[in-house]
């Protein structure tokens, strides 16, 4: 006899299938419920532990802060000293050493040259000099040209004017230097 025409057998098989599905479904439901419970419990315990240790850390922090209070002036001073050192270094790197520049240029002026005027402004030096001989002027110029070639202080050199006075026998020279 074929199973296809045996309705009773088919029904039992279907029922068994349904029941096993239900069992699996119930098992999944119970397992998920247990899992969520376990996770919740674990989170609760971990949270408790975390808040306990956080409270302990906060307590330690408070006690260290209390201990630090007498040294707050020292702490402030060392912070300011470090801050000032940083800023002083930046200022020293930024500022132009005008004394060194002027001293070097004035040091190159040989005897026999008189400085009439000297102007320094915005990386530019203008000089008016007088001499009764062209020799010291030549020496001074050569030194300045050498400095400009080596880019030592003087970056550019311009001879603005050279006047010779037959009355006084002197030479008046105007020079511009870019530094």
């Amino acid at each position: 006899m074929s199973d296809d025409i045996n309705l009773l057998v088919k029904k039992d098989k279907n029922l068994l299938k349904e029941q096993s599905k239900l069992k699996v479904f119930r098992l999944i439901a119970i397992c998920s419920l247990l899992t969520i419970l376990l996770i919740s419990l674990s989170i609760f315990l971990l949270n408790q532990k975390l808040s306990n240790s956080s409270a302990e850390i906060e307590k330690d922090r408070e006690s260290v802060l209390v201990e630090m209070k007498p040294f707050s002036e020292k702490e402030g001073k060392i912070i300011i000293v470090n801050n000032r050192i940083d800023n002083i270094t930046k200022v020293l790197n930024k500022r132009m050493d005008v004394y060194k520049i002027l001293n070097t240029i004035l040091g190159k002026i040989p005897d026999g040259i008189l400085i009439e005027t000297l102007e320094f402004k915005e990386k530019k030096i203008s000089m008016n000099i007088t001499s009764y001989s062209l020799i010291p002027i030549d020496v001074f110029f050569n030194d300045l040209i050498e400095m400009a070639k080596r880019k030592e202080i003087v970056k550019g050199l311009t001879l603005e004017s050279l006047d010779a006075s037959s009355l006084t026998g002197s030479y008046k020279i105007s020079i511009d230097m870019n530094i």
Binding site: L22, F25, R26, I28, A29, I30, S32, L33, T35, I36, I39, S40, I43, L46, N47, L50, S51, S53, S54, I57, D60, R61, V64, L65, E67, M68, F71, K74, E75, K77, I78, I79, I80, V81, N82, N83, R84, I85, N87, I88, T89, K90, V91, L92, K94, R95, M96, D97, V98, Y99, L102, N103, L106, I115, E116, T117, L118, E119, F120, K121
Partner: protein, 242 residues
């Protein structure tokens, strides 16, 4: 009539379905509720827990920093720190320090032997901090009695005096010269105390700089109290030093 029949059919269908799947309803609801709980409560709680651990990590680091700060501050020599503090504060004051500036000018004048003909302060606002300038300055124009050599001597002396300054303009003639000087200062911006930040000890370069600054002139001579300043420009034609 048709609608009524369809409704009856639907109700019947539902009844059949209910009777067939009624055992599945409770487990199904449990699974749905569990999924809902997991998404709405468990996941955010886990995220909060992880955030709490991160915060605790930072708190532990802060505590370690505080402890190391405490032990470092305890080892600092108070007198040496105070002298370093005074020196760097003199070199770069936090405010427009007229007293130190006038002392520096007076001292440089004495040391170089160059007499001062007059001076003019370009003060600016006394209350507001200069905006947009990383290193604000207090400008002073000085008239010197003497030519190029006198200017050179004076500048040489002033370069080695505190507070730090920069010569911005020189105009020297035979017997009289003028010099424009910028004296630096740097206000300290107010900041909230952050105990998580460590304190650095003074670097070797910093110590070298302090040694270098200690060779500078730190003028102490008292200046006449008769100096007064206006909000914009103060001019003194009389020589206050000689």
């Amino acid at each position: 009539m048709d609608n009524l029949a369809r409704e009856h059919i639907d109700i019947n269908t539902l009844r059949v379905l209910y009777s067939r799947y009624k055992d599945f309803i409770v487990p199904f609801l449990v699974i749905v509720v569990v999924i809902g709980l997991f998404v709405k409560i468990t996941i955010p709680t886990i995220a909060d827990l992880l955030k709490g651990y991160e915060e605790q990590k930072i708190a532990i680091q802060t505590l370690e920093n505080l402890r190391s700060k405490l032990s470092f501050v305890k080892t600092l020599d108070a007198s040496s720190l105070t002298s370093q503090f005074n020196l760097v504060s003199k070199a770069l004051p936090i405010v427009k320090d007229f007293d130190s500036i006038l002392n520096a000018i007076s001292d440089s004048s004495n040391k170089s032997g160059v007499a001062i003909g007059g001076f003019k302060f370009l003060v600016g606002s006394l209350s507001k901090e200069e905006e947009g300038n990383e290193y604000p300055t207090l400008n002073i124009n000085l008239s010197l009695i003497g030519g190029t050599q006198a200017v050179d001597k004076f500048i040489g002396s002033l370069t080695k005096a505190l507070p730090l300054s920069e010569i911005t303009k020189v105009s020297a003639q035979k017997d009289a010269s003028t010099v424009a000087i910028d004296f630096y200062y740097k206000p300290i911006k107010p900041s909230k105390y952050d105990d998580s930040l460590p304190i650095n000890q003074i670097s070797n370069d910093g110590l070298k700089l302090i040694d270098e600054l200690s060779t500078f002139n730190i003028p102490q001579s008292p200046i006449s109290d008769s100096v007064s300043t206006s909000d914009s420009v103060s001019t003194f034609s009389a020589n206050p030093f000689f």
